[in-house]
């Protein structure tokens, strides 16, 4: 019976996918005809014959979708440009985010990073997460190991701190990172790049882009990355990534654009597993490493259509699937166990003007997630396999109260799924531009987080505990997990204020402050006793939503183009927060003081000559109180040399100031990040 159910669900999915592709292709083909009949070059030829007076009678259709000007948005936005990426000296995507105020990046090992926005760490199983999107599509996995982004393909990265759930939904409760990749037109020709560094770090990649016909561009690329031993931990394997991607852009007409992209990649890495030893309240954790093989692929399609200068739509389809396979080393159970996941996503957005002055954006999305936990020895999840649909829609209205001066934006996202039933994420934003050089904004938003499947479906976990009489006598047992009544969703109410000023043409300053109030955070509480049997034990845990907290922060960025050849950027982040946990909570341990109070960055980009660049990136992070780690300063220097057209050489020294330092503990263990030197060559033709 179950097999039939699965079959029918899959069939429906296939039907939806097929329908979607019809949605893509049918209009596309017709738009093609439209191009021949009414777009360039015929239209151009017609326009050419007209004189000025006749031209002045023709209505304008604005098709260049100008990205919203940074100074005109009522949110804390930071944009990382191609130039920033090239000159940061970073070889991995998470390292790029160090330059963003309000974002905390901690490297935990050769191939492991932790990223959090405004202090809520992502390691906490029940934590608020930052939404990472590739060209607007949410990546199905939160694990950045599986998401390997080829840095050279990035057009820009937009980072929005604070809740953006009123448009982006439950995953974007604490922020959004949108990675926008380059149009295939901008990556024509070939590129070969290679890098080699200390500690067996290495990188090689190639890319080739061609024009298939007028308006149709395509590129393919492949990369191989070896992470080497950047940290001093004992490695059971050398982590490495392999990836291939493609992107096809078809500018059907000046009103229709199609994009398809896809990737396939594998990651051979390590994962940390732990055995809990000791008392429930203060468990001592023993750590061991196991091998993890990740493979994944994605396929994306997007159709953008412009109706008029104030109206357009985007239809997107996204499919993502992958597999994690763990091979335990330290445990006595050596069976490989794995997670299979796949997700299907259809997303539609439409923008138009109502009554000529209300700018309305609305959208609807259906996402289906299908994942299976297979043969996991350390915990049980029921059902093992689940296909879960998520439905959502949003509506946003931009109301100009005073033309070009004061704009109010009201909006909300509405979501429905079987974990949390119905959720709304409303927000109100006010933008005041008294003068072209001064912008003030205020925002109030409410966002809530949907339970993760693992939180919802977990039954029990296998653990190890010391006997109450003799702490040296370890016993394996079962931690039964249950949910205590109806859990309220974790909720955030955020108050934000910002000010941007451009005093001259060379200086910009961006200030943001916020106060966040957190309610109903999930806690895991034990009942205070365990049933001891001669060979094993059974303990009982339950989830409650008892924790609440608050945080406040100031974030500032100043950019100064000191001379045509010298750009400086500096940022400062102050963050303070308190959480009040439920009784006996252990989840609290990982949220408490895991973020630095102060962060400071300074970047200097100097063009010494037209061929030689010298860049300095300084990242200061104050101490991590919760783990008793001292403050550290990363100094990254980069010397770039372009001896001839198309050829670029770079020498990068990272963590120059100290031999090694620790950024964040991994389950109680220190991984020292070491100083490293990297040489890089890039040749474009």
């Amino acid at each position: 019976m179950r097999g039939v159910m699965n079959f029918s669900r899959r069939l429906s999915l296939i039907a939806i996918v097929t329908s979607l592709f019809m949605l893509f292709f049918l209009p596309a083909r017709h738009s093609c005809n439209a191009q021949e009949s009414n777009q360039s070059p015929d239209l151009s030829a017609e326009l050419k014959k007209l004189n000025l007076n006749q031209l002045m009678d023709i209505e304008v259709i604005s098709v260049s979708k100008k990205p919203e000007k940074l100074s005109q948005s009522a949110a804390a936005i930071f944009v990382i440009t191609q130039e920033d990426i090239r000159r940061s000296g970073a070889t991995s995507f998470p390292e790029l985010l160090r330059m963003v105020p309000g974002i905390q990046v901690a490297r935990q090992g050769s191939d492991a990073w932790q990223i959090s926005s405004r202090g809520l760490s992502g390691t906490r199983e029940a934590g608020l997460l930052i939404d990472v999107r590739l060209d607007g599509c949410s990546l199905a996995t939160d694990n950045l190991q599986a998401v390997d982004i080829v840095l050279g393909n990035i057009e820009r990265i937009e980072v929005i701190r604070g809740p953006t759930s009123s448009i982006w939904g439950t995953k974007a409760v604490s922020g959004l990172i949108n990675i926008i990749t380059k149009h295939a037109k901008d990556t024509q020709g070939g590129l070969v790049t290679g890098a080699i560094g200390s500690g067996e770090e290495g990188y090689s990649g190639m890319r080739y882009g061609v024009k298939l016909k007028e308006g149709v561009y395509c590129r393919v690329d492949a990369k191989y990355q070896q992470f080497g031993t950047v940290d001093d931990a004992v490695h059971i394997r050398e982590p490495e990534n392999k990836q291939g991607t493609f992107r096809l852009d078809w500018d059907v007409s000046s009103l229709d654009r199609l994009m398809f992209s896809g990737s396939y990649g594998t990651h051979l890495g390590e994962s940390f597993d732990s055995i809990e030893v000791g008392d429930f309240r203060w468990p001592k954790i023993d750590l061991y490493k196991s091998k993890v093989d990740v493979s994944g692929s994605h396929l994306m399609g997007r159709w953008e259509h412009t109706f008029s200068s104030t109206s357009d739509m985007v239809l997107k389809f996204y499919y993502d699937q992958g597999k994690y396979t763990y091979h335990d080393q330290g445990d006595d159970i050596n069976l490989p166990h794995n997670i299979n996941y796949s997700s299907y996503d259809i997303d539609f957005q439409h923008r138009f003007n109502l009554l000529s002055w209300n700018a309305i954006v609305w959208g609807a999305e259906i996402r289906v997630e299908d994942n299976t936990y297979d043969k996991f020895p350390s915990f049980s999840i029921n059902p093992r396999s689940r296909i879960e649909p998520y439905y959502s829609g949003f509506l946003q209205n931009e109301i100009p109260i005073i033309q070009n001066r004061l704009v109010l934006t009201l909006g909300s996202k509405f979501e429905y799924n079987s974990f949390c039933f119905f959720q709304a994420h409303p927000s109100a934003r006010l933008l005041w531009t008294p003068h072209p050089q001064h912008t003030f904004w205020l925002a109030v938003s409410r966002a809530a987080r949907t339970d993760l499947r693992i939180e919802h479906d977990i039954n029990y976990q296998v653990g190890t505990m010391a006997s109450p009489g003799d702490i040296h006598l370890l016993r394996r047992g079962i931690l039964e997990v249950s949910r205590h009544g109806n859990l309220d969703p974790e909720e955030l109410v955020s108050y934000e204020a910002g000010y941007r000023v451009q005093p001259g043409s060379v200086v910009t300053l961006d200030l943001t402050a916020f106060a966040n109030y957190y309610h109903h955070f999930m806690t895991s509480t034990h009942l205070g006793y365990a049933e001891w049997h001669p060979r094993y034990f059974i303990a009982h845990w339950y989830f409650e939503s008892k924790m609440h907290g608050k945080s406040c922060s100031v974030e500032a960025v100043a950019t100064w183009q000191a001379a045509a050849w010298w750009k400086l950027q500096s940022s400062y982040t102050y963050l303070n927060y308190h959480f009040y946990p439920g009784e006996h909570d252990t989840g609290y341990q990982s949220i408490k003081d895991l973020s630095p109070r102060n962060q400071y960055t300074l970047r200097s980009l100097i063009n010494i000559t037209r061929q030689i660049e010298f860049d300095t990136n300084i990242y200061f992070t104050s101490r991590i109180r919760g783990q008793d780690l001292p403050s550290y300063t990363n100094l990254i220097l980069r010397l770039g040399w372009k001896p001839m057209k198309g050829l670029e050489l770079a020498l990068i020294v990272a963590n120059l100031l100290k031999d090694h330092h620790v950024e964040l503990l991994t389950a109680g263990k220190k991984n020292e990040i070491q100083r490293s030197v990297l040489g890089k060559i890039t040749w474009t033709f």
Binding site: L11, I14, M22, L52, L55, V63, S505
Partner: protein, 189 residues
């Protein structure tokens, strides 16, 4: 091994058919031909027209046949709008189109189409064009006031332009009174 048309299969078929029905009739909307044109195709036509009314001094060109070089800032945005003007001639001079950016040192352009909203970039380009015989054309509110020569703007969804005659004089360009009649005049710098 008899194949039976079961329920999920029919449901799937229905979904596909329904989609086809919804899309089918919606498609012809693409064919509607209003008296409208995409922004940059219209701007290209305007620019081509305007160039007929602007005179460069002799020394701006190497010789009698050398072309008029039109430099475009953001050629991604303008797309292929200028393509059909590549073989056109104005007063015997061919039109040549190039891409440029504000960091370039030498600007061998006769026309610079500064299609950006970024004030910093506009400022840099206007300063660089300076007293050279370059016709600067922009599309941002303050462009002409900042010292640009021609600026496009929209009023009631129609394309209009403004001219800063002082800036044109400074650049050594002669602007025919024909177009001054239809332009909005801006003073500044």
């Amino acid at each position: 091994m008899r194949f039976k048309l079961n329920k999920p299969f029919t449901t799937a078929l229905l979904i596909i058919l329904a989609t086809a029905c919804i899309i089918g009739p919606a498609v012809p909307a693409c064919f509607a031909q209003p008296k409208a044109a995409p922004e940059y195709q219209l701007k290209a036509a305007f620019l081509y027209n305007l160039l007929q009314f602007i005179e460069w001094p002799q020394e701006a060109f190497k010789d009698a046949d050398s072309p008029i070089t039109i430099c475009v800032y953001d050629d991604r945005a303008s797309g292929n709008a200028f393509d059909s003007y590549r073989n056109e001639k104005i007063r015997g001079r061919k039109l040549v189109f190039k891409k440029f950016n504000e960091l370039q040192r030498s600007l061998e352009c006769h026309v610079m189409f500064v299609n950006t909203q970024d004030r910093k970039i506009m400022n840099t380009i206007i300063a660089k064009a300076g007293s050279k015989t370059i016709l600067t054309v922009g599309e941002s509110d303050d462009f002409a006031r900042m010292g640009g020569i021609i600026n496009f703007f929209t009023a009631d969804n129609k394309l209009r332009f403004e001219i800063n005659p002082d800036a044109a004089k400074k650049a050594g360009l002669k602007v025919s009174s024909e177009i001054l009649k239809v332009a909005r005049i801006v003073n500044g710098n």
